[in-house]
Amino acid sequence: MDEILMRLQPIFRDVFDQKNLEISRESNAATVEGWDSLTHVSLVLSLEQEFKVKFGLGELQELENVGGIVDLITRKLG
């Protein structure tokens, strides 16, 4: 699970265009500057490419914080 979090770090920095961004499981749209519907979809598309997974449309609303993203990717890879 930690490994997934580590792989998320550079993706977040790239998508949100913040070189020093540090994320944790608790990070969410309120704590990460610029996390809006637009960047959310860019993030999802980047995650799909990085982890070679495909999220269902109905799953996108579950990805509201980093912890939720890690859990869902873990489920998809498992």
């Binding site: 809006d36 519907s37 637009l38 979809v41 860019s42 269902g56 449309l57 109905g58 799953e59 996108l60």
Partner: protein, 464 residues
């Protein structure tokens, strides 16, 4: 039947809640049929002609849900496309036929289709359900489950938009009962909603309706007052309705999603759409914006902005078959693009200025929501800019009685939506105390007094 009416508050809701918990002791099946019957009665009291339509939509989508859930991949996606196509097609035909015909320059038929109440809401709910079935996120409903899911009275006419997981597959049965503090929270939600609608929204409506009734004669100040009053009215009308829906459902043990989160405190248009009609914004982002974005392997910023504008125009049109709604969506799409460009450039923007601009923009574009035609909207904009008349005599407003009380309530409403916590924030801090009980009782009594003294007005979103 209005949520904010005596028959609902003193007859329908108590009978259904007490009846449901009594019948629930007999088991799932009678409890579910009881709620289905109550929901269909509720719907029929508002629009009896729409009942066959609502039932047909529920049956057809129930069949699709089961088939999609059982099908292999190739067939699954074909069935999903067919099911989604049918839902969109029937909405286009029933709600937009006359608009589409006149848009291509033909004369629409004199007698159009009957547009069932809540069609825009219950069609979107079916669309979400079919996609959830195809993605394995919902176990297909049996007929009973789907009839209740499709017709549940707290949300059938005006949302919030729900997913299969929001309505429990197994209703509470014997012994479960409704915990007392859950019931108290539900009643608080309902009372806040009732207060918002009867005291705030209807007081604001007295102002805005007076202004909108004489758009040819408004002075600059009156025009601004009318426009701001309508923006506040729409918020208290719709969020009041939603609070009552959430409270009603909670009394039956069902937790509905939130729809508003202090939208008029937003300091940007992006923030506004995260807080206004949240379940619709979420639908647009998830089921319209994302699939359009996925059409490109690596969507550029330009593509994202194009998709934003297209999504907002469709969202505008969802509200009603008129050019005013198309233009409303277009304005908001363009505003979002400007907001995104500003963010991308990492330019600062003072919060107060952001708030002023956002509220001003929203209130200004809501002229298109309220105006019966683009021409009348233009007239109102002219008034705002000082091209209007010399002002109306205030007699029409004053003679309607209670003018001072209404004006005071309108001011209080403005203060509440800017400074007070949201209903959900207050309910979340629930704790039994005399002070709190007194507060709720006073709010309920005030709501009832206003309910009695003012002509009941339909919820604005009921027409969408």
């Amino acid at each position: 039947m209005l949520f904010s009416s005596f028959p609902y508050v003193f007859c329908f809701l108590p009978v259904v809640v007490l009846g449901f918990w009594a019948v629930a002791k007999l088991g799932h099946v009678p409890a579910r049929w009881f709620l289905i019957t109550a929901s269909l009665v509720f719907y029929a009291l508002g629009d009896a002609r729409g009942i066959p339509y609502l039932l047909l939509s529920a049956l057809v989508n129930c069949w699709f849900g089961v088939r999609i859930g059982a099908a292999q991949q190739g067939l699954k996606s074909r069935l999903l496309r067919l099911g989604l196509g049918l839902n969109v097609f029937q909405l286009l035909i029933v709600k937009y036929w006359a608009f589409l015909v006149s848009a291509v320059g033909l004369t629409p038929p004199a007698h159009g289709w009957h547009v069932p109440v809540g069609i825009s809401f219950f069609t979107l709910i079916q669309i979400i359900y079919l996609i959830d079935c195809a993605e394995g996120l919902a176990v297909p409903h049996d007929l009973r489950q789907h009839l209740l899911f499709s017709s549940f009275f707290p949300y059938v006419t005006m949302g919030p938009l729900v997913r299969s997981r929001d309505v429990p597959r197994e209703l509470p049965t014997a012994g479960a009962g409704l915990p007392a503090d859950n019931a108290a929270r539900a009643i608080e939600f309902f009372v806040f909603g009732l207060f918002k609608k009867t005291v705030f929204a209807q007081s604001l409506a007295a102002l805005s309706d007076t202004g909108w009734g004489m758009t040819r004669r408004l002075s600059v100040a009156e025009a601004w007052l009318t426009v701001i009053a309508f923006a506040l009215e729409l918020y208290f009308d719709f969020s009041g309705y939603t609070d009552m829906a959430i409270g009603s459902a909670a009394l039956l043990g069902v937790k509905l999603p939130l729809n508003f989160d202090a939208p008029y405190k937003a300091t940007s248009i992006i923030m506004f759409w995260k807080r206004w009609h949240i379940t619709l914004s979420s639908f647009i982002t998830t089921y319209l914006y994302t699939p359009l974005m996925r059409l490109r392997r690596r969507p550029s910023f330009g593509w994202a902005m194009t998709v934003t504008v297209v999504s907002m125009v469709i969202a505008g049109l969802w509200h009603g078959a008129a050019w005013t709604f198309v233009i409303f969506g277009l304005f908001h799409g363009v505003a979002l693009v400007i907001n995104h460009l500003w963010r991308r450039a990492k330019l600062p923007f003072p919060d107060f200025l952001g708030w002023l601009l956002t509220f001003g923009f929203v209130a200004g574009t809501l002229i298109l929501f309220r105006a019966p035609s683009v021409a009348v909207a233009e007239e109102m904009v002219g008034n705002l800019l000082g091209h209007g008349g010399h002002g109306f005599d205030v007699d029409a407003f004053l003679s309607s009685g209670l003018a001072a009380v209404r004006a005071l309530m309108a001011l209080a409403a403005a203060a509440v939506c800017l400074f007070a916590p949201t209903s959900q924030a207050v309910v979340a801090k629930f704790g039994a105390s005399y002070r709190r009980a007194a507060f709720i009782v006073v709010a309920a009594l005030a709501a009832l007094v206003f309910m009695n003294s003012l002509a009941a007005k339909e919820f604005i979103y009921r027409d969408f």
